[in-house]
């Protein structure tokens, strides 16, 4: 098994973990983190699968760079909305496990 294939397998697992997290979790911040996990898994598969025979491939690497930027943009928007909900709503959505760590930067 080449290293590329190993990356791809881990990527699949991360993607599934992330997907499960986004669908099943309640806490907004955790869902956003899970989405990022999905993205990381996808990027691993993108690069790893293409390089499974050992030769490095620049095209998926460039795609991953683009993908990271797009994920950052989406995460920023999601966080801004979550922040808006937290500070503005009269009944803020209850976090599944309230921890002060999450609230420090509100």
């Amino acid at each position: 098994m080449s290293s590329g294939l190993l990356f791809a397998i881990v990527g699949c697992l991360l993607f599934v973990f992330g997907l499960g997290g986004v669908i099943l979790l309640d806490h907004l911040l955790r869902r956003i983190l899970a989405f990022n996990l999905m993205g990381s898994g996808t990027f691993l598969v993108l690069v790893g699968l293409a390089q499974r025979d050992g030769t490095p491939d620049p095209v998926p690497q460039a795609m991953v760079l683009t993908g990271i930027v797009v994920a950052v943009a989406a995460t920023a928007l999601a966080l801004a909305l979550a922040r808006r909900l937290h500070t503005g709503a009269s009944n803020p959505p209850p976090p599944a496990n309230p921890t002060c760590r999450d609230d420090r930067h509100a």
């Binding site: 986004v22 993205g39 699968l49 795609m63 683009t66 993908g67 989406a74 928007l77 999601a78 909900l85």
Partner: protein, 483 residues
């Protein structure tokens, strides 16, 4: 060959980006005129591109000058051109409406966000590269979410966040599919893939198709993945709801159709039963969406659930592709008729709600006297949604039923007819109330409303009905569908 510097294909993507930035620079609440002028230019580009395609066939433009698979090809065939014309036309009408709707600077960031939305949609219709399609998909998704959130009210933020999470799951699944495809085939260019994927098909590609389809169906709000749509479309300002229901959901449907007919056509041919899944879910959408619309309390929720139902129709075409060109014609015509009708309905509702200061269905009592033009537009749009002749909606359903019967899929015809009947229930619910003169209140006189707001709705609704009579150019385009 058109002059390269003014190639309409490219400017359909560049123009919206330009006006998005230009309307961002002066700050919040500005930019209506720039947007409207630009949309006129874009409509001109779309029409010119369409004429080009009818005359010379499908066109490509290689971004960067590099041919696929190294570079990113932009491609326009008949289907793409039809979607482009629909998008710019509806966009122009909604923009004219929005200029009057958002008086005195209350539009905040509506115009830059709409510019980005159009850049994404046009980019999506014109892209021939799976990864580039992902970027355009995100562009559309994030712009749409921004439009829902624009204004900063808490309900908007909540609806926007739910929409965003659904959108991200959808595009995330799609991207994973793209990763699998690249790993399996070594390219993400649509035209190359169509030729490369043939039996035997590795399991990774089956999974890729499943993931990409699931992601796109989520973004098209197909039952039961529709949960995010009613709040997003129902709670947003009227012009935003119009853009979302009429155009944004069509973009992901277009992509799904493109994948079905293009790279993954071999998979579909190997497993024809696959087509039943979207059709069954579509039927459920028609029934469930109509039922919820009948029971809706708020006018915009009624219209939003109607969108869920109408989107279901689009998926009924998949099992009947064996019946020749009818299926594609039915699908495209339905998308176009619904796009114009739903946009008309939402902006008419926006006017009604603004004047009546009441957004519930019951609040529509007696409004026929106050806003006759707007109500007529609403009714006309309803005619198309119900599928009454001679509207575009009627012709689309007729073609669908025809295709269904000739393929022996009787149940699809039944669903289509039932859906039409259910639609008439919720449409007439509104109209019946609107024409009633409430007892014990004085006669209400017509209220003044900016002409643009009323007449754009009427224009769109008339277009939707007129499509039934003038559908031939649309079908001529479909003969130029390339892979």
């Amino acid at each position: 060959m058109p002059d390269d510097l003014f190639d309409p294909l490219v400017w359909l993507i560049l123009l919206p980006i330009l006006w998005a930035v230009l309307t961002f620079l002066p700050g919040p609440g500005r930019g209506a005129v720039v947007a409207i002028v630009s949309l006129c230019l874009q409509l001109g580009c779309a029409v010119r591109l369409t004429a080009d395609i009818i005359a010379h066939g499908a066109r490509t433009h290689l971004a960067g000058g590099w041919p696929a698979p190294l570079g990113i090809p932009l491609a326009a065939d008949g289907l793409a051109a039809a979607m482009l014309v629909l998008t710019q036309a509806v966009g122009l009408a909604v923009a004219l409406y929005a200029r009057s709707y958002f008086r005195d600077g209350s539009s905040l960031w509506f115009w830059p966000l709409t510019g980005f939305l159009f850049a994404g949609m046009n980019g999506l219709f014109l892209s021939g590269d799976l990864f580039n399609l992902y970027v355009t998909l995100e562009l559309v998704g994030l712009a749409a979410v921004g439009l829902v959130a624009n204004g900063g009210k808490a309900e908007q933020a909540a609806a926007a966040l739910r929409y965003l999470m659904a959108s991200l799951i959808g595009s995330g699944a799609y991207l994973f599919g793209v990763a699998l495809v690249y790993g399996a085939c070594g390219t993400v260019a649509l035209d190359h893939l169509a030729g490369m994927i043939s039996a035997p098909v590795p399991p990774a590609l089956w999974l890729a198709f499943a993931l990409m389809a699931a992601g796109l169906l989520l973004k098209t709000a197909l039952f039961p993945l529709h949960y995010w749509l009613p709040p997003a479309h129902g709670d947003a300002p009227a012009p935003v709801s119009a853009l979302l229901s009429a155009l944004v959901v069509k973009a992901s449907f277009y992509l799904f159709l493109r994948l079905w007919l293009g790279p993954f056509a071999c998979l579909v041919a190997l497993a024809p039963m696959l087509a039943w899944l979207p059709a069954l879910l579509g039927s459920a959408a028609v029934l469930y969406g109509s039922w919820m619309a009948i029971r809706a309390e708020r006018l915009k929720m009624l219209i939003a659930y109607s969108t869920v139902a109408q989107l279901g129709y689009l998926f009924l075409i998949f099992p009947v592709f064996g019946g020749g060109a009818l299926a594609l014609q039915a699908g495209l015509l339905h998308a176009t008729a619904h796009g114009t009708a739903k946009a008309a309905m939402f902006i008419a509702a926006g006017t009604l709600i603004r004047v009546g200061e009441n957004d519930s269905v019951r609040g529509m009592a007696g409004v026929a006297n106050q806003l006759p033009v707007t109500l007529f537009a609403f009714a006309l749009a309803g005619v198309s949604l119900m599928g009454l002749p001679p509207s575009g909606g009627f012709l689309a359903k007729w073609l669908l039923i025809d295709a269904a019967l000739s393929s022996g899929q009787l149940w699809i015809a039944v669903v289509a007819i039932t859906g039409g009947l259910l639609a008439s229930v919720y449409i007439f619910r509104v109209l019946h109330l609107a024409f009633r003169v409430p007892d014990g209140r004085e006669e209400l006189r017509p209220r003044p409303v900016p002409a643009a707001m009323e007449w754009t709705a009427l224009l769109l609704a008339t277009a939707s009905v007129g499509l039934g009579l003038f559908a031939m150019p649309l079908f001529a385009l479909l003969e130029r569908v390339g892979t």
